[in-house]
């Protein structure tokens, strides 16, 4: 009970860090401006882009463009594709400093005097996921405004599409966030955690590609990478997407278990 209460308290503090502190608001503003640029240049042009399928098809692949064309609200179709590929990258950047700076500063020591290491680790993870949920919701709201301003009758479909994308993106980002929580424990700063993540990613990618080239049955190892299901998610536009939940769910649980084990044993 205490653990659950403390996880909630820590997660709420992380949310406050982004929504109330000057530093958090600045990073949110920077992201919002970038996203508004994407809205203005790509999402707002979605209906035209979908109609001009040949151009987009050459960029994204014919199957992808075909799936976008099937969305009732084209803006959300484009949003879905962009978000699936851009948000994991943003997540790595955003979730890199879950504990790194606090550990270097000694703040983590102070926190562990008042709560368990497990609740601190999980609180930070869920807090970071909550922050990303808010950011995703903001981007969806922008797309909804664009779609409804084009055609007000699209409101209901937009709400449905928005909710579908929101849930699915949180599921996609959960393993990235959990993996960054582990890496953050070994880094001295957010930047260092990003460097560690890049190095780890490239080494693992090359190693697994090399192994699976020699032993094709080892190709399944690629599923250890967060986002390994993204390729198959692209064509989904309804709740059948939840059929792909198993891989990210197992990845998240596995990374959290490793993170908790590390957090309990690491020297602060």
């Amino acid at each position: 009970m205490t653990t659950l209460r403390n996880i909630t308290l820590i997660a709420a503090t992380e949310l406050t860090r982004v929504l109330i502190t000057r530093r958090g608001l600045l990073s949110l503003l920077a992201f919002a401006l970038i996203w508004l640029l994407i809205v203005a240049t790509l999402i707002k042009q979605a209906p035209a882009l979908v109609q001009n399928g040949a151009t987009v098809g050459s960029l994204l692949g014919s199957e992808t463009i075909l799936s976008i064309a099937q969305w009732r609200v084209a803006e959300f179709g484009i949003h879905w594709i962009i978000a699936l590929y851009v948000f994991p990258l943003c997540c790595v950047l955003y979730a890199a400093d879950q504990t790194a700076s606090d550990k270097t500063r000694g703040t983590l020591k102070l926190l562990t005097l008042h709560t368990s290491r497990s609740s601190l680790f999980l609180g930070r993870f869920f807090g970071m996921l909550a922050v990303q949920s808010v950011v995703i919701a903001f981007t969806l709201l922008c797309t909804l405004v664009v779609a409804v301003s084009r055609d007000a009758s699209l409101l209901q479909d937009s709400l449905f599409n928005g909710f579908f994308i929101w849930i699915n993106l949180i599921i996609v980002l959960a393993p990235y966030t959990a993996l960054m929580a582990i890496i953050s424990l070994f880094a001295k700063s957010g930047m260092q955690a990003i460097s560690y993540a890049s190095i780890l990613w490239i080494i693992l990618l090359f190693s697994i590609s090399w192994v699976s080239n020699r032993y094709p049955e080892a190709a399944a190892l690629k599923t250890i990478f967060p986002g390994s299901q993204i390729g198959s998610l692209v064509t989904h536009r309804d709740w059948s997407s939840l059929g792909t939940i198993t891989v990210p769910a197992i990845q998240t649980l596995l990374f959290l278990a490793i993170g908790l084990f590390t957090m309990r044993r690491i020297d602060l």
């Binding site: 406050t16 860090r17 500063r105 703040t107 102070l110 005097l113 008042h114 020297d267």
Partner: protein, 300 residues
């Protein structure tokens, strides 16, 4: 009541053996001093008791449980040497979070009370970066006081801070030592002597001694005479002429450590004062016993 027990405790960082074979207990009561030169293992020992690091050998328990145990959180608090609060949140909001995490009944009231004790109540809305070094130390002591833990470890609480802030911290430890047992590490032995009753002496990662700060000298008495700067060889000769003197040591600061036969010459100090007066020798201070520094680092 036993608060801390270390059994054959050791900690290794790579090739460096920071602490080894530590066996000690800390009982509930008056403040305990943790002394030793740099690299003696004081911070490592505090970190082990505080649960920040895990032992490489042996065990450490706080109130019978491992320091990581959730029930220990309410009973133990630590002022780590280099820790700082999060610069992005106000002091009040962070201390309130700590109090809530501890499960304190009225967190806001508890925070106000703790800040008042360290005289920082008017800084509740400030960010930690707006405080001076001395204030930051006091703030971290305030976080130690939340929820009134039974044992509080202070790792060099007065290091690098000005005399008024140091005095405030000493006074605070003295005032709160009735409700919590303090373990204080410091290089300032004079300061520790004023507030502590027991001293744990570490050197090279080993426990050298664990004793009461009040010296049991048996048949021998000790006096410490702080002469004024004009003291010279003649002052020494005058002291040596007092009957009952056993040994006399001088340091560079005109401080004489006088060892005498307290059984045969119980009035030695009166005879000494008389001699000093007769010879018009000025002195600043005469204290009974040896200072902690003299006891720990003198050859005799």
């Amino acid at each position: 009541m036993e608060l801390v027990r270390c059994e054959n405790l050791g900690k290794r960082y790579g090739r460096l053996q920071a602490l080894s074979g530590i066996n000690l207990t800390i009982e509930q009561g008056k403040p305990v001093a943790l002394v030793g030169p740099n690299g003696a293992g004081k911070t490592t020992l505090m970190s082990l008791i505080g649960g920040f690091i895990r032992p490489s050998a042996g065990t450490v328990t706080v109130c019978g449980k491992t320091p990581q145990d959730l029930s220990v959180k309410r009973r133990l608090s630590v002022l780590p040497q280099d820790a700082r609060l999060d610069p992005n949140f106000s002091i009040g909001s962070q201390l309130t979070l700590y109090a809530k995490l501890r499960g304190v009944d009225k967190p806001d009231t508890e925070v106000e009370k703790a800040l008042e004790l360290v005289q920082l109540q008017d800084r509740i809305k400030s960010k930690p970066t707006e405080l001076s070094h001395g204030m930051s130390k006091r703030l971290l002591i305030a976080q130690c006081l939340l929820g009134q833990p039974e044992i509080i470890l202070l790792d060099e609480p007065t290091a690098g801070i000005d005399p008024p802030n140091a005095k405030l911290i000493r006074d605070l430890i003295a005032a709160e030592s009735g409700s919590s047992t303090f373990v204080v590490s410091s290089h300032n032995l004079d300061e520790l002597e004023k507030i502590c009753e027991k001293v744990i002496h570490l050197s090279d990662g080993k426990l050298i001694s664990e004793a009461s700060i009040t010296e049991d000298t048996g048949d021998w008495g000790f006096l410490t005479l702080q002469a004024d700067s004009s003291a010279d060889q003649s002052t020494r000769q005058i002291i040596e002429s007092v009957k009952g003197l056993v040994n006399l040591n001088t340091n560079q600061h005109s401080e004489f450590t006088i060892e005498f036969d307290a059984v045969r010459h119980p009035q030695f100090h009166i005879a000494l004062l008389q001699k000093l007066a007769d010879n018009n020798i000025q002195y600043k201070k005469l204290t009974n016993g040896r200072t902690l520094e003299q006891r720990m680092y003198s050859q005799n």
